[in-house]
């Protein structure tokens, strides 16, 4: 196993895991921001104000249609030119993924809120609950149950999409793998398959349990 030899040599494995940590920490930052903003955006989306709804709609359509890599290019290359600020790749990534994630999250919140049938509120009112109690005991628990599995799925999508940041020059797990392979190209040519295979499985090991959890919760709360 050439790949194993190369990985175990020097600090290669540690570097690879550091690269993975770059990917994960950037995704986590974007996910946290997206959830916080998304809850707000979701509220806005359920409001009756037409201007706000039209604006949200436009935002949502934009992130649904424009590929995330294009958005990354726009921010990373475009911002530098337009405002003369050189954003780092990392900052661009967090901006873009939050812009994308908050919109998607907002739509999930909207969907979850609107999926609660009206007679749920009515029957809660009929029990003599106050408005606050209706939200506390009836609406919010049901909304959260619908929301959490979908939000977790969104999180795995964001982690996977973070792999794109190597294309704007961030040194993350895939880039590190490339560097390791380049360094070893004279004495261990065939290591490439194994090392890219390892990166493949690293992503899988991170995302799979999360997907499984989402699936479980979805079944449990369906």
């Amino acid at each position: 196993m050439q790949a194993l030899d190369v990985l175990l040599k020097g600090r290669n494995l540690a570097r690879l895991l550091q690269g993975l940590w770059v990917t994960l920490s950037l995704s986590l930052a974007a996910i946290a921001l997206s959830v916080a903003l998304g809850l707000l955006v979701g509220m806005l989306m359920t409001m009756k104000n037409r201007a706000i709804r039209a604006f949200c709609r436009l935002w949502l359509e934009t992130i649904r249609i424009v590929p995330q890599l294009v958005l990354l290019f726009l921010v990373y290359f475009g911002m530098a030119k337009a405002f003369d600020i050189q954003l780092s790749g990392e900052a661009s990534a967090v901006i873009v993924f939050t812009f994308w994630g908050a919109g998607e999250m907002g739509d999930l919140v909207r969907g979850a809120v609107q999926s609660i049938p009206r007679h749920q509120t009515e029957s809660a009112n009929a029990l003599g609950l106050t408005r606050g109690q209706v939200y506390r005991y009836v609406i919010i628990p049901q909304t959260v149950r619908r929301l959490i599995p979908q939000a977790i799925n969104l999180a795995t999508r964001m982690i996977k999409t973070t792999s794109l940041i190597m294309l704007i020059g961030v040194v993350e797990v895939l880039k590190v793998a490339q560097q390791i392979i380049d360094n070893a190209r004279y004495d261990a040519l065939q290591a490439a398959v194994g090392i890219y295979g390892v990166v493949f499985f690293l992503y899988f090991i991170v995302c799979w349990p999360i997907s499984l959890a989402a699936g479980r919760l979805e079944k449990k709360w369906a």
Binding site: I65, P67, Q68, F73, A192, F200, F204
Partner: protein, 221 residues
């Protein structure tokens, strides 16, 4: 904004867009075929094939396309398997898309009531007739929104093809930025090209979904 520059390089973008479209369509068509096979293997509980399908779906859905492509394009040649950029792109997209399509079809099949199958059986239909006339049409109608979402998702995913040296839209844009430093123009044309590709698909799909919902046969009762 340098309009003569834009004019000069529009044909280049058009060509790249056509390439993206061709790769995307091929990959999506193959994804549907793979997805259908996986879905049937699971639905009919075919021994071994069913487990393989499940494992493949989990693998493909939990890893990024970019990593899959790197493995195909930069990894495999080192052990003697040499694939062209185009082949890598189509294989990668099919690997990813097949899993998503399988899930979409599966949810469609699962949404068809068990009693519908029984009703078909009680009319003396054979298994295949039942599948063709009773179960598939209903499953497909339920699966349409998910399939449409997948088509858009996969078309967007084609944007990473540039990483394996395919001269697609991203590749052209990056090239122009590097060569002429015309960032604004290059990016503008990039966004415009993707809008031209994806906006019509998106509009047609939401129309299709609305139509299906209104014709919505939904549940019988």
């Amino acid at each position: 904004m340098d309009w003569t520059f834009i004019q000069r390089f529009t044909p280049m973008y058009a060509e790249a867009a056509l390439l993206t479209l061709r790769m995307g369509l091929t990959g999506i068509a193959l994804s549907m075929a793979v997805g259908l096979l996986c879905c049937l293997a699971q639905h009919y509980r075919l021994p071994a094939l069913r487990q393989i399908a499940r494992a493949y779906i989990e693998l493909a859905r939990n890893t990024p396309l970019l990593v899959q492509l790197f493995f195909l394009y930069f990894g495999l040649p080192k052990v003697g398997v040499r694939l062209s950029s185009e082949t890598c792109a189509v294989i990668g997209l099919t690997f990813l898309g097949g899993a998503y399509m399988a899930e979409a079809f599966r949810s469609g099949l699962e949404a068809v009531d068990k009693t519908q199958r029984e009703a078909g059986e009680c009319l003396g239909l054979t298994g295949l007739q039942n599948l063709r006339y009773v179960i598939f049409p209903q499953a497909l109608a339920t699966a349409v929104p998910a399939v449409c979402a997948n088509v858009i998702f996969l078309t967007k995913e084609t944007s990473v093809f540039s990483a394996v040296a395919l001269a697609d839209l991203m590749y052209v844009a990056k090239d122009l930025i590097g060569m002429y430093y015309k960032t604004d123009e290059a990016l503008l044309m990039l966004v415009a090209a993707y809008l031209v590709l994806l906006l019509p698909i998106s509009v047609v799909f939401s129309w299709l979904e609305r139509r299906l919902r209104y014709a919505g046969f939904g549940r019988a009762a």
